[in-house]
């Protein structure tokens, strides 16, 4: 309905993506703040069954464009479908995921509708006075945060970084309305053809999904030094992360990097060992539930964001923790 909050529910190859639930979590809050409904845009072929999962995660309405030509994501027909839904139901706000699909689709939609789009946000809030959407995003490589608003044009649009927003606890008894949207692509939409999709084996770590991360930085000192970090991560059942310094020095592989130029993580426990806590690093881990800092330098910034801090040599403290945890088993 006019004035509602919409999110784009990304599905790929018939699977609803986790980020859709994250956006619903954030969208729910925005809709409640505005006292409006939360809608989800769902585009695909034979995807109606996904609607229930979207309701369970907070959607009131699912706007469904279901057609054979949108089985795979293709910019032009998806843009046409999304624009049709937005133009017909006139939401106040539309949030897309900042995924490879969302960052392809959302700008195209915004340009066609002549409205504002804020990229890769880490925070979405309603300004209490103006009731406008305030989109917070890191800029200049994460050195600086910017708050962007779109005062005149509608809808207000943003893409939101995966792994940042929290889904609500799903409630399978929740229901909602499915609104089917008549959609037909035109020939001009088919200038790009889908040929194939290839999944590549992930031998990489999955930091975004990890519940516990033990991360090392400059203070670790060497590749061998990471052995202490690894052992603690192992006994905790967590993953190993690294700061940019650690990665640049070759102590740990790139796919372990946490921060603005690496991964954004939000584990339940983040243990930062020998990490000073640059703004770039903080940009990647501030979503963690509990943060522990271990550093020799009592003035290190990381202590200011930590729930628990220990001033001392990580090469003494980390092995002591590993040992204590082993002794408990």
């Amino acid at each position: 309905m006019t004035g509602d909050v919409f999110i784009y529910a990304e599905q790929r190859e018939g699977t609803i993506q986790k980020v859709a639930f994250e956006l619903l979590g954030s969208g729910r809050k925005l809709a409640d703040d505005l006292g409006v409904k939360l809608g989800a845009i769902l585009i695909g072929s034979g995807v109606e069954s996904m609607a229930q999962d979207l309701f369970a995660h907070g959607a009131d309405t699912v706007y469904l464009a279901d057609a054979p030509e949108v089985e795979h994501f293709l910019t032009l027909p998806y843009t046409r479908a999304a624009c049709k839904i937005i133009e017909e139901y006139k939401p106040e706000i539309v949030v897309f995921p900042a995924t490879h699909i969302g960052r392809d689709l959302a700008p195209r939609v915004a340009q066609r509708l002549y409205t504002g789009l804020t990229a890769d946000c880490t925070g979405l809030d309603i300004d209490p006075e103006s009731k406008l959407l305030v989109s917070t995003r890191p800029t200049f490589g994460g050195s600086l945060m910017a708050q962007i608003m779109c005062p005149e044009k509608r809808p207000q649009m943003s893409t939101c970084r995966p792994g940042v927003m929290k889904p609500i606890e799903p409630d399978t008894s929740r229901t909602g309305e499915v609104v089917k949207v008549d959609f037909e692509s035109v020939d001009a939409d088919m200038m790009v053809k889908f040929l194939e999709v290839v999944k590549e084996a992930r031998k990489t770590v999955n930091l975004e999904e990890a519940k516990i991360i033990v991360a090392g930085g400059r203070g670790v000192g060497s590749e061998n030094g990471f052995e202490n970090i690894r052992q603690l991560a192992e006994v905790l059942g967590g993953e190993v992360g690294g700061s940019r310094v650690a990665v640049d020095n070759g102590w740990i592989a790139q796919d372990h990097q946490v921060g603005q130029t690496g991964k954004t993580v939000s584990p339940e426990l983040y243990i930062a060992c020998g990490i000073s806590g640059s703004v770039q690093h903080r940009a990647g881990m501030m979503g963690s539930t509990v943060i522990v800092a271990i550093n020799k330098d009592p003035t290190a910034t990381i202590f200011k964001v930590a729930d628990y801090g220990i001033v001392g040599d990580l090469h003494d403290i980390v092995p002591a923790m590993t040992q204590a945890l082993k002794d408990m088993d």
């Binding site: 700008p107 050195s143 600086l144 945060m145 608003m149 999944k199 940009a283 729930d307 040599d313």
Partner: protein
Amino acid sequence: MDIIVCIKQVPDTNDVRIDEKKGTLIREGVPSIINPDDKHAIEEALRIREKEGGKITILTMGPPQADDALRESLAMGADEAILLSDRAFAGSDTWATAYSIARAVNAIGKFDLIICGRQAIDGDTAQVGPQLAESLELPQVTYARKVEISGDKAVIERALEDGHETLETSLPAVITVIGDLNEPRYPTIKGIVTAYRDKEVGKMTAADLNADEAKIGLKGSPTQVKKTFVMVPKREGELIEGTAKEAAGTLIERLQDKNVLR
């Protein structure tokens, strides 16, 4: 195959420091560079030209000093360069930027392909490429990591979070490229000399665009920056003291209380 490559001159964000009190950037003494993804775009255009022939035109919108980025592109081997510069463009967001560049592309006229870098390191939006494609009503393929031209089509590998997809697009089209695509060449000494002594950089202003004035610059931009700030650390933590063994023990107790251990 005539190619337009859109580039941006950006401050090297590795060298950017911030004034934590004012919440602003300290840009003094920070070198300006060609945006890294855009260098890959230039390299890809050069490789396509090596196979297909044709002409490469580099287009940038920016202040007069963006001339340096264009000269560097010429030194890498591009044929022509155009600087779109006017105070009227100040304050452009990605919508107005894409609109203005699209008008400039139309003013250039003939082309078969537009290549952009995926995103610029100062803004990290990745929006201008797709928005340019929409303004020109052209097909787009983003996150390209492999580009093969065959006749009036291009077959492109588009990177996904967990793999890639292969797409075929008709031409002309807009492609945005990522770093995995290629390794940009260095300018040559001879190229640098030619770029500064023998080549001309074409100039365009708002007046040359045949544009709707209400759609350029700050006025034409739907978004506004409300404020910028340095992320303020938020937590009041507890400092745990004692020997390594004592501190480790206390910490584990605290974490157990918080229910964050297995």
